[in-house]
């Protein structure tokens, strides 16, 4: 174990190295670019024994890792904003083929260079597991957990973990680096299933792929695997915590000062750090507002939110994204999850940090106060608010 002060992109690259990734591919795009540089250096210096394929675009990077994963290699790909959108098509193929590819998405919005969660949220229908990270240490840890989850026989799905560009990608923080031997013990090599090698392949798979049977099965099994991954994510988080001394809530969500709270805010990504301070300030003023960090967006932790939702009178979802014409992705999922509760809390929608707009502690305090008012039965001036 050692420590280093490093930027988010280096924490990710260090995670990739510790995971002993065998094939990585990427196309440089701000603010993901330096991951590709760190990986190139690691390969050039012999620190990472991997094939790093410098391709001509993001679509190809996704296809390269997809094909390498199909052969059985452990793979990594990373991108941001427009690059993420460009690789949308093959992302469907990666998940459909149940390939445990891991991808880092360094968030960059679509209406400018600054971060919001539009890039990864736009991939909601591609059948990838989605995690959102708060700080650099969590990046390294999540990268390792990602392989544990994706390659698990019960899951075998690709996983994307996202983090806010600039805010984390280019900001240095102290990061604890676990020892390679410890990681090797915790994360055994990937096993391809089933093999595609000519001398090992099952000849019954020759031909035209999915055929016969119920055409809906491909969707049903995929959906069920996505839902089932929640338990494996929790397991991986708990096992990581036992081994390396760090965990992130139950792996899906992390509660902060929710006990005895009248209302709870929900935040994602780097904004969670700001929200923690805001919640501390609210409690100092006697305002009992808790915070839930939503880490695992897909599969959505419905049960956790139902449990929390039945203890508070109002919840405020802070979305750093908007599905245009629909609303915030987090808000929609949260309210949907709470609908089945007999005594359900009010749910307020806050938009913050879109297009990289700064989110200050004061902003979150105000959102908390408004949510608390709703919890106390006061009529909210509006259910939706664009903050800041």
């Amino acid at each position: 174990m050692s420590y280093e002060v490093m930027v988010g992109n280096k924490a990710t690259a260090t995670g990739v190295k510790l995971a002993r990734v065998q094939v990585a591919s990427a196309f440089p795009v701000t603010p993901q670019t330096t991951i590709t540089e760190y990986l190139s250096e690691m390969v050039a210096n012999g620190e990472l024994d991997a094939e790093f394929v410098n391709v001509e675009g993001e679509l190809s990077s996704q296809v390269v890792v997809q094909a390498a994963s199909r052969v059985g290699a452990r793979t990594f790909v990373c991108t941001s904003g427009p690059g993420q959108l460009y690789m949308h098509h093959p992302m469907h193929q990666t998940s459909q083929n149940r390939l445990p590819v891991v991808m880092a998405v360094v968030h960059r919005g679509n209406k400018g260079m600054q971060p919001d969660h539009t890039d990864l949220m736009s991939q909601m229908w591609t059948g990838w597991l989605q995690l959102y990270c708060e700080h650099n240490q969590e990046l390294l840890d999540t990268c390792l957990m990602a392989y544990k989850v994706a390659e698990d026989e019960r899951v075998r799905l690709p996983l994307a973990f996202g983090y806010d560009g600039y805010v984390l990608s280019y900001t240095a923080e102290p990061v604890e680096i676990p020892a390679q031997e410890e990681v090797d013990k915790w994360l055994p090599p990937n096993k391809p299933m089933p093999s595609i090698l000519p001398d090992e392949v099952d000849p019954s798979t020759f031909g035209r792929g999915w055929g016969g049977g119920d055409p809906q099965d491909a969707w049903r099994f995929h959906h069920e695997a996505m839902l089932g991954a929640a338990d494996v994510i929790k397991e991986a988080n708990a096992s990581y915590e036992r081994t390396f001394g760090r965990g992130y809530g139950n792996g899906l969500i992390e509660e902060y000062r929710c006990e005895g709270a009248e209302a709870a805010m929900v935040a994602m990504g780097s904004m969670v750090g700001t929200a923690r301070t805001a919640v501390d300030r609210l409690w100092e003023d006697g305002k009992k507002v808790g915070l839930v960090k939503l880490k695992c967006f897909l599969p959505f932790p419905e049960e956790d939110f139902q449990r929390i939702g039945s203890t508070v009178k109002a919840m405020g979802m802070i979305d750093r994204n908007v599905c245009l014409g629909h609303g915030g992705a987090g808000f929609r999922m949260l309210r949907h999850s709470l609908y089945d509760l007999e005594d359900r809390p009010k749910v307020l929608q806050f938009f913050a940090g879109l297009g990289g707009k700064e989110v200050r502690v004061d902003h979150v305090v105000k959102m908390g106060e408004k949510t608390l008012e709703a919890a106390r039965g006061e009529k909210a001036s509006s259910l939706v608010e664009w903050s800041g």
Binding site: Q22, V23, A50, E56, S60, V71, Q93, F206, G207, G209
Partner: protein
């Protein structure tokens, strides 16, 4: 360069599973049959959308239409990572996946000189979706998106010279082939198997449905294409060394190739003469290149 193969030397064992989804007289199905005979079973073949969806007794993974080059690249690097470099990585794509939607990724794979095979069955239009024009469609050919109308008759643009474009990437091996000349086709695969790096074989594969001729005449049409200089057979090493593999004393007139195909039925004598002039000019250039052994682009 490729070494002469006799008909008796063509492997008996078939790697393709017939009938696949091919029509009667399908040139592309025959192209697959020949190519995979020579490649043998230690092969991973990747398919992207193409016509027909040839089926081979080799493992495959389906890929996105535009991702052929990257698919082969990832497979090769994956095999390297797991220590199985003995396995051949082969893409069997159509002209759409090579000339058009897949071009960017293939160009990049060629530039990186990935150790892969790209075999293209060029049937000169998007046959999978019902004969729409591609950049491989020859000038004046009728397709469903270059119809014969009152104002415009057939495709108004020339066919993209894809072999020379890839030759300009200076890849180790690129060759053209025809299903009308199986020995030559097999010889080129045999040679390519000895080469490490990017290998490309473009096979002209007549399509009776799209080109509109009697399905019994596929071999005849394929041969006329070569014999009239429309589809010359050649090979290029490292983007420089050139060899013309089929050199008749005299070319047949292009009309012998064009006239049996209803896709060219509307052509005027002037248009035929223009195609003849271009074919003759190109042939003279290729003869010169063959004489000097150097590519002339």
């Amino acid at each position: 360069m490729s070494q002469r193969v006799t008909r008796a030397q063509i492997p008996l064992e078939d790697i393709t599973i017939t009938p696949g989804s091919a029509c009667q007289g399908c040139g592309a199905a025959l192209g697959a049959r020949l190519a995979f005979k020579a490649l043998g079973p230690n092969t991973i073949r990747h398919g992207i959308p193409c016509c027909p969806d040839s089926v081979t007794a080799t493992p495959r993974a389906s890929g996105v239409f535009e991702g052929g080059g990257a698919m082969l690249t990832g497979t090769w690097h994956g095999l390297k990572a797991i220590g199985r470099t003995d396995v051949q990585v082969v893409g069997f794509f159509g002209d759409g996946g090579t000339y058009d939607i897949g071009f960017q990724g293939l160009s990049a794979a060629a530039e990186r000189n990935e150790n892969i095979w790209v075999i293209t069955k060029d049937n000169e239009a998007y046959m999978n979706t019902g004969n729409q024009r591609s950049s491989a469609t020859p000038m004046y050919a009728r397709t469903s998106t270059t119809p014969v109308g009152t104002l415009v008759k057939g495709k108004q643009e020339r066919k993209k010279n894809i072999p020379m474009i890839f030759a300009a990437h200076r890849v180790p091996y690129i060759a053209t082939a025809s299903v009308g000349y199986p020995e030559d086709l097999i010889a080129k695969i045999n040679y390519g198997k000895t080469v490490h790096g990017f290998k490309m074989l473009i096979i002209q594969t007549p399509c009776p449905v799209g080109w509109r001729y009697d399905p019994a005449k596929t071999i005849e049409i394929a041969r006329l294409s070569v014999q009239s200089g429309i589809w010359p057979l050649y090979e290029i090493i490292d983007g420089e060394k050139f060899k013309l593999n089929y050199k008749p004393k005299e070319l047949k007139p292009v009309t012998e190739y064009l006239k049996p195909q209803a896709r060219f039925r509307h052509m005027t004598d002037d248009e035929m003469a223009q195609i003849q002039e271009e074919a003759s000019r190109n042939w003279a250039k290729l003869l010169k290149a063959d004489e000097t052994g150097q590519v002339i682009i």
